[in-house]
Symmetry: C2
Subunit: 344 residues, 2 copies
């Protein structure tokens, strides 16, 4: 059966001082990103086969958006990046449906062309079912973005996609330009479809210690000590991404290129691409007043109103959590500020 | 008798987004600027002869600092700059003490050398009493400030000061440097001492319409319609500064030079001169975290904490009122932001 596993454990550290992780906020339109991710599965995956992985602290926020989830909310005991989260989800799915095919989806991305997205995800399900391969969606790049990882195609794609020959980590600007010009590199959106059994086999081969820990979790599912075992075993899982831990070493990867208007909204400048510009190229969202200022990104929600004069190309954010001021071309460095706040 | 008239009606628009006018805040030490101004009169003017002029909305804030003021709080019906405020104060003083000598003092300045200040103010009282002249305090300049007006001496000052030959409006940087090098120009602190009768005579000569309005106010003091007459007459007073309206045209002005560590705290950079610098030349007051940033002025009080990375020479303020971002060398332009907020 077809399932979806939505990864809702992100902390949005690159968007500090957002009041809450971005999947819970309506940053693109009226709907939260999580709610939109959920609704994009309509017609592809039934409601009962949609699963959420996230920290237990996030259950309430998820259910406020999606309604009661019951056992469809799979709680991570701690955040350990995407590989353990996906492994944990696979353990749960495997226990109830050994023939499960699962689409892995980040909860906090934005898609403008929902029809295109759904057509591609349906293709991905079909290929994963028929060929037993891991099928990724590859986003046709609109520009040489340095904030994304890239997928490299092994051949020119046909109507059903192409084999994948490798992964490229976030490139510098020159390399990004070159890859986009070549035409055989696509943005890695972290969206993929595979049989759960196939994914667990990859864990066994490539992350054997993590797989052993997950096996212990599987053996105790439904037992009185399940939570205790989970907590102990999960801390033994390697805290790494699914790309680094599993995908880069897997064989038989397939890629379906798509132009579905995707963005990961992964930084303040990424988010600001959804906002209208004023006559001075400022992207403003909220109660802000700018004078003699150009090219700024200003976001105000829950914090005091912002007044700016005579500054260019800054990100300025005001929320109840804090006030951020950083140059636009350095907005990826917000995480250094967050790290310093957490470890003073 | 010696009196003091403290001008407490300032709105601190150059310090937006301060939550309250700066005279009511402890911006230099533990005490509010108004409280410190009041206490600097100890030994010079008895408590009963200290008067406050300000908007009626400020009475409560003044009394929270100074205790019950009763008739010693003189309420302006509206803010019309310093000339009408001082004229109104003189009308009240003249009614109760025709021989009054008054020291006019802004409520929101800072003085570090209180002994020096008191010695000079005592000298000023004595000269105003004995010579019937208007005696200003002139601050010996520490640098070529462009944010202050200047007093020009007619001669090299003796131990008791010198005659004043004129006023110079806020100069540009070159002119300020030249004036400081000459040594005969002093900062105008807006502090002066004179007989009330002498001041009212200057109003009569130089601001006849304002004087006529003030005379009507005087005639109705203590009458049932006093407040109604005040409101009607005050709106006829010319909304101008005491310097422009009276002092520049007055004769027989005297100046006592002083090095009393005075500052008007008239802008964010002026205020920041009282704060310690960190190793990167940032002046920080409040909960702020700066990385790879130099020469900034950051103030946080009542607003969200501030995190800054990779920016130089900015003023960044976070209060419950708002968030301000403006280059340090343009911080006088805050008033343009305030004006735009008031007249959108």
């Amino acid at each position: 059966m077809r399932h979806a596993l939505i990864l809702a454990g992100g902390r949005s550290t690159r968007l500090w001082p957002l009041a809450r992780p971005k999947q819970f906020l309506p940053l693109a339109g009226d709907q939260s990103l999580l709610g939109a991710t959920w609704d994009r599965l309509d017609g592809l995956v039934t409601l009962d086969q949609r699963w959420i992985v996230g920290g237990s602290a996030h259950r309430r926020a998820c259910e406020a958006i999606l309604g009661q989830l019951g056992s469809r909310f799979i709680a991570e005991p701690e955040g350990r990046n995407t590989a353990p989260a996906i492994g944990l989800g696979c353990v749960h799915l495997n226990a109830i449906d050994p023939d499960a095919v699962v689409a892995i989806l980040p909860a906090d991305h934005h898609v403008t062309e929902v029809d295109v997205f759904q057509r591609c995800l349906r293709l991905a399900f079909e290929r994963a079912e028929n060929e037993d391969c891991i099928v990724t969606l590859g986003i046709r790049p609109s520009h040489g973005a340095t904030g994304y990882g890239y997928l490299r195609l092994a051949e020119a794609p046909g109507p059903e996609g192409a084999a994948l020959s490798g992964f490229v980590e976030k490139p510098d600007a020159d390399k990004a330009q070159t890859m986009v010009a070549w035409g055989d590199h696509l943005w890695n959106a972290g969206i993929f479809v595979a049989r759960v059994a196939r994914l667990l086999a990859e864990f066994e081969t490539q992350m054997p210690e993590t797989f052993a820990a997950l096996e212990s979790v599987a053996e105790h599912l439904g037992q009185p000590d399940a939570e205790q075992v989970l907590r102990a075993c999960y801390s033994r899982c390697e805290a790494t991404s699914i790309d680094y831990g599993v995908m880069e070493g897997a064989s038989g990867l397939w890629c379906i290129p798509t132009s579905c208007g995707w963005s990961d909204l992964g930084s303040w400048t990424g988010l600001a691409e959804l906002w209208p510009l004023d006559g001075q190229n400022n992207a403003i969202n909220g109660d802000a007043q700018l004078q003699q200022s150009r090219g700024n990104v200003v976001y105000v929600a829950g914090g005091p109103p912002v007044a700016v004069r005579g500054v260019d190309d800054l990100v300025i954010v005001s929320t109840a959590e804090g006030v951020l001021v950083i140059p636009k071309d350095r907005c990826e460095e917000v995480r250094h500020l967050v790290a310093a706040r957490q470890d003073p």
